[in-house]
Amino acid sequence: MAELVKIRGRNVFGRLREIELVEGGAYDAPGSRLRQRLVVVKNRSYVYKCVPRADGNREPALYDMLDNEVRAGTRLGQVYADRYPPELARLAAYNVDAEEPFVLFYAYAGDPATGLATRLEPEHRRLFEVGLLRAVRLTAEAGVIHGALTMDALRWDGRQVQLVNFESARQVGEPRRSGPVLPSHSPEQSSGSGTVDKRDDVWAACLIVRDVAMGASANGFRRDRSSDPEWLRALLDPVFDNEVAHRPEPADLLRGLRSDVPELAAGDPEAGLTPGQRQFDRISLRKRRTTANAGQEPANRGTNPRWGVAAMVVLVVIAAVVGLAVMFGWVNL
C-alpha cells in the first residue's frame, strides 16, 4: 500500500491546512514544464505540480511558472468560488514556502487535445470551439490571461473543453513581458509591449478555432486565409485584421458562433478576503483604542485656547470693574 504523506498547503484564500496524500503515479500531460504527477487525497485524484530544488537550481524560471500557476489559480478560485466552471482547471492548494514548492489541482478532465484538430468528428467541432471560447471568456472576465494557449493547454472529454497549465499566465493590466515568442502569440504579445489586455488570448484561441474548423494544422500549410470558409473569415477577420484594442471579445465570438452567452456567475474576488479584512479592521481599531487610552491624560492636562481667552476677558472685566470702583471710590480700600 502506498505511503501516506502529509504536507501543508494553502487554499485559494490563503488559509493554511494539512493535506494527507498518497502517490498516484506518473502523470505526463503535454504543455507543462513543471514536474507533475498524480496524487490521491481522500480517494480523489489530483495533479501535483512542483519544482524540486534540483530543478529550481538548474532552471530558476520554473519558480516563476509555479508562481504564475498560483496567481492565476487563486484569482480564478476567488472569482468563481462555489460556482467554479468546469472549463478551467481548479487549484486546490499550493505552498510556495515549502522546501519543494507545489500546486495541487483537481484532476484534469478528459484527455489532452494535442493533435485533436484532425481527429475531431464534424459534430464535435463546434462543441470544441464554443468550449474553448467559453474558457477564454471565463479567464478574461476574471482578469487572467493564459498566455500560452495552444492545443497542449486544452483537454477534451468528448463534450467539454478544459483549459489547464497556467504557467505563462498574466493578469490584465500588468505590463507585457518580452519572453519566448510562441507561434500562437499575437503581435502585441510577441513584441512584449503595452499592458496585458483581456483580449490577449483571443488571438491564440482563434488560431485554434481555425485549426479545428479546417480540420488541419492551419498554421503550417495555410497561413493564407483567403481560401478559408466564408463563415470562418467572417468570424476571424475582425480578430486577425485588428489591433488588440479593436478585437472582438470572446463573448462576441461566441455570438458569432451562434452560441448562448450567459451572464457569468463571477463573484467579487475580494469577497473571500472579507473575513480577513474584518479581522484586520478589528485589530486596527483595537490598536487605535489602545493608543487613544494611552494618550488621554496629557490631553486633559492641556489648556483649551478658547477657555483661556474667556478667562482672560473675565479677568480684564473684573480688573476694569475693580479699577473703576476704586477710582470712583465705590470701594474703599
Binding site: T118, M214, A216, F221, R222, L257, R258
Partner: protein, 727 residues
C-alpha cells in the same frame, strides 16, 4: 506457387527429380541433365501428356553418359520428348562461333562473368520467344542454342532507391504546392441547383403586399397632377399620405421577414436550430436530398486527377480536408448582416408646397383682374367681367390649398379658407377695384378696338387659367421628386435578390453540402491512413528483402522515379476503393481497413515487379514507362547490338569447341531476334533506330525486359539417339 497461363514456368529436374509434378499448365521450360533425360522419361511423359500443358521446351545440359551414346550420339532423347522441343546445352559458357564452318573461339573473359545458360532461360521465359522457339524447332530432334541478350530494365539498386524516393515524395508535405479544391468540390453535383426565384408562401405574400402598396403610391402620384385629382370624389389627394405610410410600413415588414428568414436559415445551417420546418414555413422550399451516387464518383475523379498529377498523399489529404471545410454549410451571416443593416425601410411623406400658386404670383393675379376689368369696361360689364376672373382666381387658390396632400389626408377646405381669402382673394379684389377706378387717361389709352379688346380679354383669362394649372403641376412634380418610392423599390429588389441568392446558395443544397463535406472528410482521413501506411512500409516494397530503409536516398533516374511514383500512386488510388464504397453507402470505414488493403497491394506489386520486371507491370500506352524504356535503350548500346544481330554474326554457342561437330551445317540455323513490344513504340519515334521498328524479323513480346537474339542450330540426326522407353 501458382502461375499465370500466359507465363512461362521453369521446372528444374536437376534439383527436383522426384515424382512427376502435378498441376502444371501452360508453357513449360524443363531443365535437365542430358544424361538424365531417359531416366526422367516418365516425368516427361506426364508433362507432355498433361491436358493443361501447352508446350514443353526441354533444355538438356551436358552430354549423355557412355551408356546412352549409341553410335556417337551426344544426346539420348526418350520417346516422350519425340514431339517436344529439345535444346541441347553442351556447355554453360559456350564458345564464340559462326555456323559457316569457321573455327570456334573461346568467349572473352568479361563474357564469362555471366552464364549464357541463364540468359537462355531468361529469354525462354518470355512467352513470345518461347512460342517462336517451339515453332522453329519443329521437325528437329534437338537444337543447339546461341544466345545474346541485353536487359532493358532498371538497375535493381536504382529500382529500390526509386521506391524509397517515390514513397518519400508521396508522403512528404509539399509546402506551397497545395491547390485550393474547395470551390470545385463544393460545386460537385450542382448542375441541377435551383437558381432565381425561390421565395414563396408567406415571405412572397409579404413582398407582394409591399410591392402592391408601392405601385398604388406610384399610380396615385401619376394622377395627382390631373383634374380628377382635384375634383373627383375618389381623389388621390385624400388618401395619398395614408398610402405612402402604409407602403413604407409594408416594405419594412418585408425586410424584417427577410431578416427572420435568413436568421433561421443561418441558425439551421450553423447549429441545426431551428428545425427545417421553422424555415420552410416562411416560404422557402425544403432542401433537396443529397445524391451520393453523383457526389462520390465526382469527388473520386478529383482525387484521381490530383494523384495522377503527382500530388503527394499528405498534400492531397490537406487539400481534401480544406475542401471538406469549405464545402460545409457556411451559413449566411454576411447576408443577414446586410439585410439587418438596411433597416428600417420607410417611405417618407415629403411636404407639399405650402402655396401651390406661389405668393410671388399675387401681382399677376391683381394685374389680370385689373386688365380684364379695363378691357371689358367701362361700366358694369368691366367690373362684372373682372369680378368673375377674381372669383376664379380665388376659387382656384382655395381649391389647390385644400387639395394639398398631407401626412394623413388632404388639408381640406376648412383650413384653406382664410389663407385663400388673405392672398388670392385680396389680390383679385384689389385688381378689379383698380381696373374699375382707373383714371380716364388710362381708359382712353387702353381704349382699343372692340375686337382686339375681346381677344385681349380672352388672352388674360387664358393666362390666368394656365398659371393655375402650371402652378399645381409644378407643385406636384416637386412633391413627387421628394417621394422615394424608387429607392424603396430598389431596396426591396436588392434584398430579395440577396436573400434568394443566399437561399439558393446555402439553404437548398445544404444536404448536398453536408454530404460532400462528410465524404471529403472521410476520404481525407483515408488518404492520411494510406500515407501513414505507405510511409511505414512502402519504402521497402521494391527491395528483394525488407531491409531497414537507408538513411539517405540516392537520386533515382527521373524516368524511373516517375514510373514508380505513378505506380505507387495508382496502388493508393486503388486501395481507396473501400473508402469510396463506404462513402457511397453512407458508412464509416473502420480504421486500418485501408492500411491492410494497401499493404496487400504493395506486396503483390513488389512480387510482380521482382518476378516480371517493372516494365511488365504497366499497361500499354503508359507514357511514363515508354519514357523509361527510351532512357534505358539510350543507355544500353548492347541492346542495339543484340537487336541488329544477323545470320552471320558471331554469337556464343552453348557448347564446347569440340562439340561443334555435333551440329548440322546442312540445315540453315534459325535466328530469332526479340524485344519488348513497348520498345517498338519508342523506336518508331526514334530518328536513328526507326528501321528496327519495322524489321519483320524481330519478335515483339508483350512483356519482358530483354532484348536479344537466339540462334538455333539443329543437331545432326546422328547426334541424337531416340530411346523407346525408360531404363
Amino acid at each position: 506457387m501458382s502461375t499465370n497461363a500466359s507465363e512461362v514456368e521453369v521446372l528444374d529436374l536437376r534439383v527436383a527429380p522426384g515424382d512427376p509434378p502435378v498441376g502444371r499448365f501452360g508453357r513449360l521450360v524443363v531443365l535437365d541433365d542430358a544424361d538424365s533425360l531417359v531416366k526422367h522419361a516418365d516425368t516427361y511423359l506426364a508433362l507432355v501428356s498433361g491436358e493443361m500443358v501447352s508446350a514443353v521446351v526441354c533444355v538438356a545440359i551436358g552430354e549423355a553418359d557412355g551408356d546412352d551414346r549409341f553410335g556417337g550420339a551426344v544426346l539420348a532423347i526418350p520417346h516422350a520428348l519425340r514431339y517436344a522441343t529439345v535444346l541441347w546445352v553442351g556447355d554453360r559458357e559456350g564458345v564464340r562461333w559462326v555456323p559457316d564452318g569457321s573455327h570456334p573461339r573461346p568467349v572473352e573473359a568479361d563474357e564469362k562473368a555471366g552464364d549464357s545458360l541463364d540468359d537462355l532461360i531468361a529469354a525462354l521465359r518470355v512467352p513470345h520467344v518461347f512460342d517462336r522457339v517451339v515453332e522453329m524447332a519443329e521437325g528437329h530432334p534437338g537444337m543447339s542454342p546461341a544466345v545474346r541478350v541485353a536487359p532493358i530494365a532498371p538497375d535493381p539498386v536504382e529500382l529500390v532507391d526509386a521506391g524509397e524516393a517515390a514513397v518519400q515524395a508521396l508522403t512528404a508535405p509539399e509546402y506551397g504546392s497545395a491547390v485550393n479544391l474547395g470551390p470545385r468540390v463544393r460545386r460537385l453535383d450542382s448542375s441541377n441547383d435551383h437558381r432565381g426565384n425561390v421565395l414563396a408562401g408567406r415571405i412572397h405574400q409579404t413582398r407582394d403586399k409591399a410591392v402592391r402598396a408601392l405601385n398604388r403610391v406610384t399610380e396615385l402620384t401619376a394622377v395627382l397632377g390631373t383634374g380628377p385629382a382635384l375634383l373627383g370624389r375618389d381623389r388621390p389627394t385624400a388618401r395619398l399620405g395614408e398610402e405612402v405610410a402604409r407602403a413604407g410600413q409594408l416594405a419594412e415588414e418585408y425586410r424584417e421577414c427577410l431578416a427572420l428568414l435568413l436568421d433561421r436559415v443561418d441558425g439551421h445551417l450553423r447549429v441545426g436550430t431551428p428545425p427545417v420546418a421553422k424555415v420552410t414555413e416562411l416560404g422557402v422550399p425544403t432542401p433537396r436530398a443529397a445524391r451520393l451516387g453523383e457526389i462520390v464518383p465526382a469527388l473520386r475523379e478529383v482525387v484521381t486527377e490530383r494523384l495522377a498529377r503527382g500530388t503527394s498523399l499528405t498534400t492531397l489529404a490537406e487539400e481534401i480536408r480544406l475542401a471538406a471545410a469549405t464545402s460545409e454549410p457556411q451559413g449566411c451571416g454576411t447576408d443577414l448582416a446586410e439585410v439587418r443593416g438596411r433597416g428600417p425601410l420607410s417611405l417618407g411623406m415629403p411636404a407639399f408646397r405650402r402655396w401651390p400658386i406661389s405668393r410671388a404670383l399675387l401681382p399677376v393675379v391683381a394685374v389680370c383682374c385689373a386688365l380684364l376689368t379695363i378691357l371689358l369696361g367701362p361700366g358694369s360689364s368691366g367690373w362684372v367681367g373682372g369680378g368673375l376672373l377674381a372669383a376664379g382666381w380665388f376659387a382656384s387658390g382655395l381649391l389647390l390649398l385644400a387639395r394639398r396632400p398631407g401626412p394623413a389626408a388632404e388639408h381640406g377646405l376648412a383650413t384653406a379658407w382664410l389663407p385663400a381669402v388673405g392672398t388670392y382673394g385680396v389680390a383679385a379684389v384689389a385688381g378689379v377695384a383698380g381696373g374699375a377706378l382707373a383714371p380716364d387717361v388710362v381708359l382712353s389709352w387702353v381704349a382699343v378696338p372692340e375686337l382686339v379688346g375681346g381677344l385681349l380679354a380672352v388672352g388674360v383669362s387664358a393666362v390666368s387659367a394656365a398659371t393655375v394649372v402650371l402652378s399645381w403641376r409644378a407643385a406636384v412634380r416637386a412633391w413627387s421628386a421628394g417621394l422615394r418610392v424608387a429607392d424603396v423599390r430598389t431596396a426591396i429588389e436588392e434584398l430579395t435578390r440577396r436573400c434568394e441568392e443566399a437561399v439558393g446558395r446555402e439553404w437548398l443544397p445544404v444536404r448536398r453540402h453536408r454530404a460532400i463535406a462528410a465524404t471529403a472528410g472521410s476520404i481525407a482521413v483515408a488518404i492520411e491512413e494510406l500515407s501513414a501506411t505507405l510511409g511505414a512500409t512502402g519504402g521497402r516494397v521494391l527491395a528483394g528483402e525488407w531491409p531497414d530503409p537507408p538513411d539517405e536516398v540516392t537520386p533515382a533516374v527521373p524516368e524511373l522515379l516517375r514510373v514508380v511514383h505513378a505506380d505507387l500512386a495508382d496502388l493508393c488510388r486503388a486501395a481507396l476503393a473501400p473508402a469510396w464504397q463506404a462513402a457511397e453507402g453512407g458508412r464509416r470505414l473502420d480504421r486500418n481497413v485501408l492500411a491492410k488493403h494497401l499493404v496487400r497491394r504493395l506486396g503483390d506489386y513488389g512480387d510482380r515487379v521482382r518476378r516480371h520486371g517493372l516494365l511488365a507491370a504497366g499497361t500499354p500506352g503508359d507514357r511514363r514507362r515508354d519514357a523509361l524504356v527510351a532512357r534505358l535503350w539510350a543507355d544500353s548500346p548492347l541492346a542495339a547490338v543484340a537487336l541488329r544481330t544477323g545470320p552471320g554474326t558471331e554469337l556464343v554457342q552453348l557448347c564446347r569447341g569440340d562439340q561443334v561437330r555435333y551440329l548440322s551445317t546442312a540445315v540453315s540455323p534459325g535466328l530469332l531476334r526479340f524485344a519488348p513490344g513497348r520498345l517498338r513504340g519508342v523506336l518508331e519515334r526514334s530518328h536513328t533506330d526507326r528501321a528496327l521498328a519495322s524489321d519483320p524479323g524481330i519478335t515483339w513480346s508483350d512483356g519482358g525486359e530483354l532484348v536479344g537474339a537466339l540462334r538455333l542450330v539443329p543437331l545432326r540426326p546422328e547426334s541424337v539417339h531416340h530411346m523407346m522407353g525408360s531404363r
